[in-house]
C-alpha cells in the first residue's frame, strides 16, 4: 500500500487559559501551569499540568507526581462533606453533616478546654505547609501542645544544621550547582527537594563533575552516582568522623576559614571544678573571646581587624582556656577514628575511606578557584575575591532518622566546615531566611493561662536547661515531652509520641486531639497496630481513653476512620495557601522567594480549606488574633489572613508586592491587591540578592544589610559557625551536677555520654536486638509522596506493589526466589510479606517502599487492590518505645538529643514463609465515607 499521509492539524489549541499556581504533590512546591479547558457544559476544567518555566524552584520541569496532579485533584477518594462519627471508632461509620453543625460541635468541645485547661487540646499537623499560621492559631488558643510532623520526619537534620551553622540541608540550602565539581550525598530521600536535586545532578554531570552516593540502597540518585558507598545503616557518623580524622591528620583543612568564620579559635574554660567548665570564655557583652594572632591579646571575636588564633591558649588565674580547635585535634586525631578502626563497622574498606577523603581534599584545595567579587566581612576586612572550594554535600532522612542522627548530622556539617565549603562558591549555600543561627530563633514557650494565649511560640531552640519546657514540679509541660531531659533539643516536637503519651496519660491526660493532614493511624506512626488500639481503647466507664478526635484531611485516609469529627479540606487546586518566608519558603541561594496557591477551580463538593476553617473557628472561640475590635471574625478566610495579617509591623505572610501600591519587597504595609499581583506574576515572587552578597552570607556585610532591608532580620547578626555546641555542654554540666535545674538520675549518664559538644558517633541502643541482625529500611519513591500517591490512578500503576527487597546474599541464605514470601520479625512484631532480590544493596540490609500498603476501605481503592492485599508497612515492626528496661519507664525509640523518631534503627530477622494470599498482619476493613471509584478512566476534558 502506498503511503497516504493524512493532513494533521499541527497547531491545535492547547487550552483556553493557563492558571499558574504552586504544586502540592510533595514538599518541593514547584510552580505549575494549570491548563484549563471549557467543556461541553461550559465548565472550566483542569486539562493538563506542566512546570512553570519562570519559577525559581523547577524552572519548567515537573516530576511524575506533579504531572499526575490532575488525577489527585479528581481522585475518587476526595471527601465530600463534614462527617460525624456514628459507629465505633476505627469502623468508618459516619453521617454527613452541615458545616454549621460541624463548627458548632468543634466550638462546643474546644471552648470549655480553652476556658479551663488549654493544655487538654493537642493540636498537631502533618504535611501542613502553613505552620506559621497553624502555630499562630494554637498559640492564640493557649495550648502548649502544638507541633508539626518534623519530629518524626527529619528534625535531626534541621536542628543539627541550625545549631551548627545556622541553616540546614533539606530545602533550606543547596549545593552551588553552577560551580561544584564534587557532590557527595548521604541518605537522600528521593521525594524531597526532588526536582532541584535532579536538575542539579543533571547539570553537574553534564560538566563531568563527580557524584558520590552514600546509601545502603543504590536506587535513584545513587544509581547515577559515579561512586556508590553502600554503607552499613547508622554508621554514617563514624565514616564522616574518620574522614575528618584523615583530613585533619594530613592538614588538608581550611585554617583561614576556620579562624575567621567559625568558633574553632574561641576559648573554652578548662577548669574541671568550675560550673563554667567547657563553656566559652565570654566578655561582659556575652561575646566569645579569642586571642588575636596579630596582637596576642584577648578580644571579642568580632572586633575590627582581629585575626583569631586557632592555636593560642589563655590562662586566667590557674585556669587554662584552650581554643575549640585544640579540643578537636585531641578528639579526632586519635586512632578511634582511624579508617582501619571504623572500616568493619561501617562496611567500607579503610583504603576506600582514605580514597574518598583524598578526593574530597583534592577537589576542595587543588581545584580551588576565585570569583571576582569584592566583599567586606563583619570585622571590616575587605576580601578582593571569593575563594571557591568546589565540594558540596547534601543529606537527608537516611542519616537523620537514627538515634545517633543529630550527632551524625553535626559531624557532616563539621566535615563541610573544616573543608571551608559552606557559603563559598562551589560549596553549600543557604537560602533565605537562612543563614540564621540558633540564637536568633525563638526559644520554646509553654506558659499556659486558661482563657489566654500561650506566652510565646511553642517551638524553638533551647540554649540550656533553663529553656526546657518543664512545669514547676519538673514534669513535662508538653504532651509529647518535647524540650525535656529525655530529648532536650527537640526543636520540632515529637508528634509520633502524642497518641502514645495521651493514651498512657503520661505526662497527663488530654481531652481533644486535633490533627491535620497526618495519617497517624497508619503509615505516619510507629507501631501501627498498637496505635489503632490506643485510638479505640476505652476506660472502665466505656469512654474512649482519648476522649475526642477532630481531623481534617482532603482524602479518605486511614486516619479518617478514627476521628469523631471530620472537617473536609480542599484539593491543592481549590485553595489559597502561602509558601511563606515566615515558614518554609521556596527561596533559592541567590534570591528570596515565596509563592501562593489560589483556587484555580472551585470545589464541586461541600469542603473548605482547613486554614479558612481555622479563621472561622478561631473567631467562634474568641481567640485574640482571630477577632476584631468588636469581637467579630477578623479574617473572613485564609486569603484575607494572607493579605492582611502582620507578624511584625510591615512583615506579613507574603514578602512580595507590599505597600499600598505594591512596590515594596519584604517590608511594607498590607496591600489589598497582593494576591492578584502574585497571580499576575505567575503565583510567586522573587527578590534577588545583590552580586557581592551572594556568598559568605553569615559574615558578609552586604548580605546582612540586604537581609535587614528585606525584613528577614531587624538588625545585622553576623555569627560564628558552632563546631562546638555550647548548649549541649550546658546540658552535660547539669548532668554533672551543676545548676538548679537537674535531670533525673536515670538520664544523667545518657546526657553526659550523648550530648558531647563536639560531634561524636555512638552505637544506638541495641537492647533487645539479640538475634536480630539485619537492618530494615524504607524509602519513598520519586514518583510517590507519603501515602497520597496510591489513590492516583496513574502513579499507582508505577508503584502499586512494594515487595521487601533483599540483597542476593540473604536471598540465597534463606532459599528465597522472587515472589516467595518471608516472615520478618523484629523485637516488637512480625510481618509476612512478598520478597524480591536486589543486588545493588548493602548485603545486610532489606528495604521496601514507604506507605504503599493501605487499609482496605481507605483511599477509595478496591478491596482487591494490591496496596490493600500484598502491600504492607514496616511500621508494624517498629515500636515507639524501646524494649522495657525493667525500670518501669517508657523510653522513646528516638534520638536522645532531639527526640527524632529512630525509624531506621530497626533490626529484623528473616525466614522463608509458605506462600500467602495477603500480607500479614491484616487489618479489618474500614467503611469508606466516599463512593466507590469508577472502574475505568478515559479522561478528556473536551
Amino acid at each position: 500500500m502506498t503511503p497516504k499521509q493524512p493532513v494533521l492539524d499541527l497547531s491545535p489549541p492547547v487550552s483556553d487559559e493557563i492558571r499558574k499556581t504552586t504544586c502540592y504533590m510533595c514538599a518541593c512546591r514547584c510552580g505549575i501551569n494549570v491548563h484549563m479547558k471549557t467543556n461541553a457544559d461550559g465548565d472550566m476544567k483542569v486539562a493538563y499540568i506542566e512546570g512553570n518555566r519562570d519559577h525559581p524552584i523547577n524552572k519548567g520541569v515537573l516530576c511524575a507526581k506533579g504531572s499526575a496532579g490532575i488525577m489527585q485533584h479528581n481522585a475518587p477518594a476526595r471527601l465530600r462533606k463534614p462527617l460525624k462519627r456514628v459507629g465505633e471508632r476505627g469502623s468508618g461509620e459516619f453521617e454527613e453533616i452541615e458545616w454549621e453543625e460541624a463548627l458548632q460541635i468543634a466550638t462546643d468541645w474546644l471552648a470549655p478546654i480553652r476556658a479551663n485547661a488549654p493544655e487538654k487540646l493537642a493540636f498537631f499537623t502533618g504535611r501542613d505547609q502553613s505552620q506559621s499560621f497553624t502555630s499562630y492559631w494554637a498559640q492564640n488558643f493557649g495550648t502548649p501542645n502544638y507541633a508539626a510532623h518534623g519530629g518524626f520526619c527529619s528534625v535531626n537534620m534541621a536542628a543539627a544544621g541550625i545549631y551548627t551553622m545556622g541553616g540546614a540541608f533539606w530545602e533550606f540550602g543547596q549545593p552551588d550547582w553552577d560551580h561544584t565539581k564534587l557532590f557527595m550525598l548521604f541518605g537522600v530521600a528521593e521525594d524531597h527537594d526532588s526536582n532541584p536535586i535532579k536538575m542539579g545532578i543533571g547539570k553537574i554531570k553534564a560538566r563531568g563533575a563527580r557524584v558520590i552516593g552514600v546509601n545502603p540502597i543504590r536506587t535513584g540518585y545513587n544509581a547515577v552516582a559515579d561512586d556508590w558507598v553502600g554503607i552499613t545503616p547508622g554508621t554514617d557518623g563514624l565514616f564522616i568522623l574518620s574522614m575528618i580524622h584523615c583530613l585533619m591528620k594530613a592538614g588538608r583543612i581550611d585554617l583561614d576559614y576556620l579562624a575567621r568564620f567559625t568558633d574553632a579559635p574561641a576559648l573554652v574554660n578548662g577548669d574541671p571544678g568550675s560550673p563554667e567548665f567547657g563553656l566559652f570564655l565570654r566578655d561582659k557583652n556575652g561575646k566569645q573571646q579569642v586571642i588575636c594572632r596579630k596582637t596576642g591579646k584577648l578580644t571579642a571575636f568580632d572586633q575590627p581587624g582581629v585575626r583569631p588564633d586557632l592555636s593560642a591558649t589563655h590562662i586566667i588565674g590557674d585556669i587554662t582556656h584552650r581554643p575549640v580547635f585544640h579540643h578537636m585535634a585531641e578528639k579526632y586525631l586519635t586512632d578511634d577514628y582511624a579508617p582501619e578502626d571504623v572500616a568493619d563497622r561501617c562496611g567500607i574498606p579503610a583504603p576506600r575511606i582514605r580514597a574518598i577523603a583524598t578526593e574530597i581534599a583534592r577537589v576542595a584545595f587543588d581545584e580551588a578557584f576565585e570569583l571576582d567579587h569584592e566583599w567586606t566581612d563583619f570585622r571590616g576586612d575587605v576580601h578582593k575575591t571569593m575563594t571557591g572550594r568546589p565540594v558540596s554535600f547534601h543529606a537527608m532522612r537516611g542519616i537523620s532518622a537514627h538515634a545517633n542522627g543529630f550527632q551524625t548530622c553535626r559531624a557532616l556539617h563539621t566535615l563541610q566546615i573544616i573543608l571551608g565549603t559552606v557559603e563559598v562558591p562551589g560549596g553549600f549555600r543557604f537560602k533565605p531566611p537562612y543563614p540564621k543561627p540558633a540564637t536568633a530563633h525563638p526559644k520554646p514557650h509553654c506558659g499556659v493561662t486558661p482563657g489566654k494565649p500561650l506566652d510565646g511560640p511553642h517551638l524553638g531552640f533551647v540554649q540550656g536547661p533553663a529553656d526546657l519546657a518543664l512545669k514547676n514540679d519538673g514534669t513535662p509541660a508538653r504532651i509529647d515531652k518535647a524540650f525535656t531531659w529525655e530529648n532536650p533539643m527537640s526543636a520540632h516536637g515529637l508528634m509520633h509520641m502524642v497518641i502514645s503519651n495521651a493514651h498512657a496519660g503520661d505526662p497527663y491526660k488530654i481531652d481533644t486531639l486535633f490533627m491535620y493532614m497526618a495519617n497517624m493511624s497508619w503509615n505516619s506512626s510507629m507501631n501501627t497496630g498498637g496505635v489503632m488500639k490506643m485510638l479505640t481503647d476505652k476506660d472502665t466507664n466505656g469512654d474512649y481513653v482519648i476522649p475526642r478526635i477532630i481531623y481534617s484531611d482532603a482524602y479518605s485516609s486511614e486516619m479518617v476512620a478514627f476521628a469523631d469529627l471530620i472537617l473536609p479540606d480542599t484539593t491543592y487546586l481549590e485553595r489559597h495557601d502561602c509558601i511563606s518566608l515566615l515558614d518554609r519558603p521556596i527561596c533559592e541561594a541567590d534570591a528570596a522567594a515565596d509563592a501562593i496557591r489560589w483556587p484555580v477551580v472551585e470545589p464541586d463538593r461541600d469542603v473548605r480549606g482547613f486554614q479558612s476553617v481555622l479563621c472561622d473557628l478561631g473567631a467562634r472561640l474568641g481567640l485574640p488574633g482571630f477577632v476584631d475590635d468588636t469581637g467579630g471574625q477578623k479574617y473572613a478566610d485564609y486569603a484575607d489572613y494572607i493579605t492582611n495579617h502582620e507578624r511584625r509591623p510591615g512583615i506579613g505572610p507574603l514578602a512580595g508586592f507590599r505597600g499600598a501600591d505594591g512596590t515594596q519587597a519584604g517590608r511594607g504595609a498590607a496591600n489589598p491587591d497582593q494576591l492578584n499581583r502574585y497571580i499576575q506574576n505567575g503565583g510567586f515572587f522573587t527578590h534577588h540578592i545583590p552580586d557581592g552578597a551572594q556568598y559568605y552570607k553569615p559574615w558578609n556585610n552586604a548580605y546582612q544589610d540586604w537581609a535587614v532591608e528585606t525584613g528577614l532580620y531587624d538588625a545585622p547578626q553576623p555569627y560564628l559557625f558552632s563546631l562546638y555546641a555550647e548548649p549541649m555542654r550546658r546540658f552535660q554540666l547539669a548532668a554533672e551536677g551543676h545548676g538548679d535545674r537537674q535531670p533525673p538520675d536515670h538520664l544523667r549518664d545518657r546526657i553526659k555520654h550523648t550530648m558531647s559538644p563536639l560531634p561524636i558517633w555512638y552505637e544506638t541502643d541495641q537492647q533487645g536486638n539479640d538475634g536480630f541482625t539485619i537492618t530494615a529500611l524504607t524509602q519513598r519513591p520519586m514518583a510517590m509522596y507519603h501515602s497520597w500517591g496510591s489513590q492516583n490512578a496513574w502513579l499507582r500503576q508505577i508503584h502499586g506493589h512494594n515487595p521487601l527487597y533483599l540483597p542476593t546474599k540473604l536471598m540465597r541464605a534463606n532459599d528465597l526466589q522472587d515472589g516467595d514470601w518471608a516472615r520478618v520479625t523484629s523485637p516488637h512484631g512480625e510481618i509476612t510479606v512478598p520478597v524480591m532480590e536486589m543486588a545493588s544493596l548493602n548485603e545486610n540490609t532489606v528495604w521496601t517502599w514507604n506507605a504503599i500498603g493501605k487499609r482496605k476501605g481507605a483511599w477509595a481503592l478496591d478491596d482487591a487492590a494490591p496496596e490493600a492485599t500484598k502491600g504492607f508497612l514496616l511500621n508494624h515492626l517498629i515500636h515507639e518505645l524501646l524494649p522495657p528496661k525493667g525500670d518501669g519507664l517508657r523510653w522513646s525509640n528516638a534520638d536522645p538529643i532531639t527526640g527524632q523518631a529512630a525509624w531506621f534503627d530497626l533490626k529484623v530477622k528473616i525466614e522463608k514463609s509458605p506462600a500467602q494470599t495477603e500480607s500479614k498482619p491484616t487489618t479489618p476493613k474500614q467503611k469508606s465515607p466516599v463512593a466507590a471509584a469508577p472502574k475505568n478512566l478515559a479522561w478528556k476534558s473536551r
Partner: protein, 248 residues
C-alpha cells in the same frame, strides 16, 4: 502492507542519556497527561483503582540491575518509547495504511480513523513500543508530540515533546538526527550514542547515551602522598598548626 517513504527530509527523534536518568518517571506521566488530553483518543486506564490497574502509556521506564565483573552491582533506568525507526516494521506490517512514517520529519504515527486495532504492528515492533488502547480499540504510540513541536499556539521554547520539557535531570534531548550539525547529533558523537538493538535492522532514529563507567575511584593506601600525616604525634599537629598559621 504499507510502504515507508523513500527518504525523510528530517529525522526527528530523542536522545536519551542513561548516565543521568534517575528513573523518576516524570517523562512517563507528562507524556500520559499530554497525550490523554491531545492527539487522538485519550490514553485510558482499566481497573484504575482496582486489583490490576492497566493503562495505556506511550513511554515507560524500565530498570535493570547489572553485576560487573568487579565492583558492586549497578542499577540502570531505561526509558523506552517508539524509536521512530527508518525501517519501521510496524509500518510495513500495517494492513490498512493507518501506521505511517511522515516524509517530512520521519515521525511514525497511527492514523486512528484507519486503525482497526488488529495489533499486527505491536507484534512487529521489536521494542514493544506500541500499546493497543483498550477503551478506544486503536493502537497508541509515541507521536513525538507532533501536536506540540510545530504548534503555533505554544511559545517557541515549548515546541518540544512533553517528556523532554519535563525531564528534571535533563536526560532527554530532542532534535534532527538527520542533520550532523544539530545539537543532538553532536551530543551523540561526543558521548558515543548507540542504537537500541541494532541487530534488528530497524535503524532507530532515537539514540541512547551510555552511562559513564562507575565505581572507578582507586583505593588508596595509608602512605599515599595526598593524605600523608603531617606528624604522627598530636603535639606535632599543633606544631604544624603554628608553623602553618604563620604563613597565612
Amino acid at each position: 502492507m504499507t510502504e515507508l517513504p523513500q527518504a525523510t527530509q528530517k529525522k526527528l527523534g530523542l536522545v536519551i542519556d542513561l548516565d543521568t536518568c534517575v528513573g523518576c518517571h516524570a517523562c512517563v506521566i507528562s507524556c500520559k497527561g499530554w497525550n490523554t488530553e491531545n492527539y487522538g483518543a485519550p490514553l485510558s486506564d482499566q481497573d484504575a483503582y482496582g486489583a490490576d490497574p492497566s493503562g495505556t502509556f506511550l513511554n515507560r521506564v524500565h530498570s535493570y540491575e547489572v553485576q560487573p565483573d568487579t565492583g558492586p552491582a549497578q542499577l540502570f533506568h531505561f526509558p523506552k518509547s517508539c524509536l521512530h525507526c527508518e525501517d519501521a516494521p510496524c509500518v510495513t506490517v500495517c494492513p490498512t495504511g493507518a501506521s505511517y512514517k511522515r516524509a517530512e520529519d520521519g515521525i511514525v504515527l497511527v492514523n486512528e480513523s484507519d486503525c482497526i486495532g488488529c495489533g499486527l504492528c505491536a507484534w512487529a515492533c521489536p521494542y514493544g513500543a506500541r500499546e493497543l488502547d483498550q477503551a478506544a480499540g486503536v493502537m497508541k504510540k509515541c507521536t513525538l508530540c507532533v501536536d506540540r513541536i510545530y504548534n503555533d499556539n505554544l511559545p517557541e521554547e515549548d515546541r518540544i515533546p512533553a517528556c523532554v520539557r519535563t525531564c528534571p535531570s535533563g536526560a532527554r534531548h530532542f532534535g534532527d538526527l538527520g542533520d550532523p550539525d544539530s545539537d543532538v547529533s553532536q551530543l551523540v558523537v561526543a558521548r558515543g550514542g548507540v542504537d537500541l538493538m541494532p541487530e534488528q535492522g530497524t535503524k532507530p532514529v532515537n539514540k541512547y547515551l551510555p552511562p559513564r563507567p562507575k565505581d572507578q575511584m582507586p583505593e588508596i593506601d595509608v602512605l599515599a602522598p595526598f593524605l600523608a600525616p603531617i606528624d604522627q604525634e598530636p603535639k606535632g599537629f599543633l606544631g604544624w598548626l603554628d608553623r602553618t598559621l604563620d604563613k597565612i
